[in-house]
């Protein structure tokens, strides 16, 4: 009978498992039995999660791939196999390539860009001793806990054409009010503003905790050398924060790509298609107009687009900043 080695091929056994071996049970049969029980324990630990993930995410994705190859609608539930035609239809849909995709990327760049700039600024601002620091740091997190639908409601109300605070302020200054949600660019701008309001605190929190962990030596050396505040920021603070910034940018970009709540609440994609994004497009196509197959194709296309763009952006960022490619394991 062979005793499995710590790195035994295919046994899935790790050295840590052997380290935890209870003393006094070193016989070969004992080891084998113990290891087998350990393996069973590992499988038991992961079983429920794996089941949930497979049934509710992996299986739907596979089902979505299958459906995207059919022409499946409530009126035609048997669904004939039509190959990649649904993908062609989505790609040829002007609403997809002229409205949803450009709007989503514009939103992503504007919103995430503003969020990281404001987040960095505020994090640097509160990274000092001042009266009421604890209270302020807590209050600044508050928008993060407000639902995007409520944020949408709030910003819609502030920019309401008749009773909104903004137009009342303009009226008090003698400026005629603006129909904010009837013009493409103002409607788009307010959606970006609401998203920036919601997510800037997240960047503040993470960049601030990043600042807390920076070593003090480079800053002291720079001060002794007479570096200006801007030089310290540009050549010490920002480079030291690159790892934090790159990860937060990536995570947040993935989230911003599927923006839905705030758009759906405020404009529903309008006026016209001016604020149609990928999320509202798929919801409208796949659910409201029950084009299930085309909706599934659009959803999969979106996933491919965001993964390719995300990996490309992150890879470029990593190469430029750290001079080495980035991998999933980091």
């Amino acid at each position: 009978m062979e005793i499995p080695r710590a790195n035994g091929r295919g046994s899935g056994l790790d050295s840590e498992a052997l380290d935890t071996l209870p003393a006094g049970r070193i016989g070969a049969a004992g080891v084998r039995a113990w290891v087998e029980r350990d393996r069973a324990f590992q499988l038991q630990l992961v079983a429920l999660s794996a089941l949930a993930l497979l049934v509710f995410q992996v299986l739907p994705i596979a089902h979505g791939i299958w459906i995207s190859l059919l022409d499946f609608t409530p009126w035609h539930p048997e669904g004939d196999f039509i190959g990649l035609r649904n993908y062609g239809r989505v790609l040829a849909n002007p609403l997809f390539y002229r409205a949803a995709l450009p709007n989503t990327f514009l939103f992503l760049v504007l919103a995430v860009g503003l969020e990281v700039v404001c987040g960095l600024g505020i994090a640097l601002l509160i990274n000092r001793r001042f009266p009421g620091a604890r209270l302020i740091r807590t209050l600044l997190l508050f928008p993060l806990l407000v639902a995007p639908v409520v944020a949408g409601l709030m910003f819609y109300w502030m920019f309401h054409s008749e009773f909104g605070f903004v137009n009342q302020l303009l009226a008090a200054l003698g400026v005629p009010g603006v129909l904010w949600f009837n013009r493409p660019w103002t409607a788009f701008g307010i959606i970006v503003l609401a998203d920036v309001w919601t997510w800037t605190p997240w960047f503040v929190l993470i960049i601030y905790s990043g600042l807390q962990t920076l070593p003090p030596e480079p800053f002291e050396a720079a001060r002794l050398d007479g570096a200006s505040a801007w030089q310290v920021f540009r050549w010490i603070t920002v480079p030291l924060l690159y790892p934090v910034l790159s990860i937060t940018l990536l995570i947040r970009s993935f989230d911003a790509f599927r923006v839905f709540d705030v758009v759906w609440t405020m404009t529903g994609g309008g006026p016209g298609n001016a604020t149609e994004t990928f999320g509202t497009f798929v919801y409208r196509l796949g659910y409201l107009t029950v084009n299930y197959s085309e909706g599934a194709a659009a959803a999969l296309l979106g996933a491919v687009v965001i993964i390719v763009v995300g990996v490309a952006v992150y890879g470029t960022f990593a190469r430029v900043v750290w001079g080495r490619p980035a991998g999933p394991g980091r």
Binding site: Q42, L45, L124, V150, W197
Partner: protein, 284 residues
Amino acid sequence: MTVVSRPGRPVGRRRVGYWLTVAAIYAVTAAFLFPVFYLALTALRPPRDVFAVLSAGTRFSFRNFTDALAWEGVRIPESFVNSAVIATASTLLSLVITLPSGFMLARYRNRLARGWFFLIYVVRTIPFITWILPLFLLAQQLGLHGTYIGIVAAQAAFHVTFYSWIFKGFFEGVPRELEDAALVDGCSRWGAFLRISVPLAVPGIVAAGILGWIWGWNELLITLFMTTEDIPMYSKTISTFITEMGVEWGRMAATGIMAIVPAALVTAFCHRYVVAGLGGLHER
């Protein structure tokens, strides 16, 4: 803006600059809180003052709140109860299934653990809009669409990747010597996990649970796909306000404020947990 590494209280000439910076911090905070303040003020005005929110002086009333709760056809109390029940159930369910999975990731380095981690990583990058439409179709075929089980399962499934990842980090912070001691003393593997490791990770679990609950409470897209009008939920209700019935601003503001209350209470009372959770949740 002076950017210096954690300056103390300054003296002399820099004093003015210091107080200007402090003023800027307070101004930024006020700007961030203003939208909520304005919504709250709208909600607290008598219904006829909705057009004069800032200039109505000291005229306050809870009329909007009582009106909103009694609003015929909108079913606001029911939607709040539903949202709370579903967020609670899905958070608890996902904690039960993902705690062991996170523990597995923290304690094993073998091929199964690496494979599971990779699967989580891949699924996590796929936007949930991609799987929610087919899931809705599957749920329809299985008769789960528009049921409590359907929406709870879909929300809990969303948490699986995220929580497994987070709990990996939390359990890596729990020293395994304590488990080993329990094992030597005759505890079973599950016993050591449930009686030693889980209790030691409670702060992290609470943080993740609170944030998961708030996420479920606020979530809209999965809700729209997985529920029908038989299960009113507040995020759905509010999102119809603007497009369909844009006249009752006072009641809408009151509903919005009532929706913020759980989050506000949580921030006030569990501030330390929430900050730790938010930081931990996203940095890993």
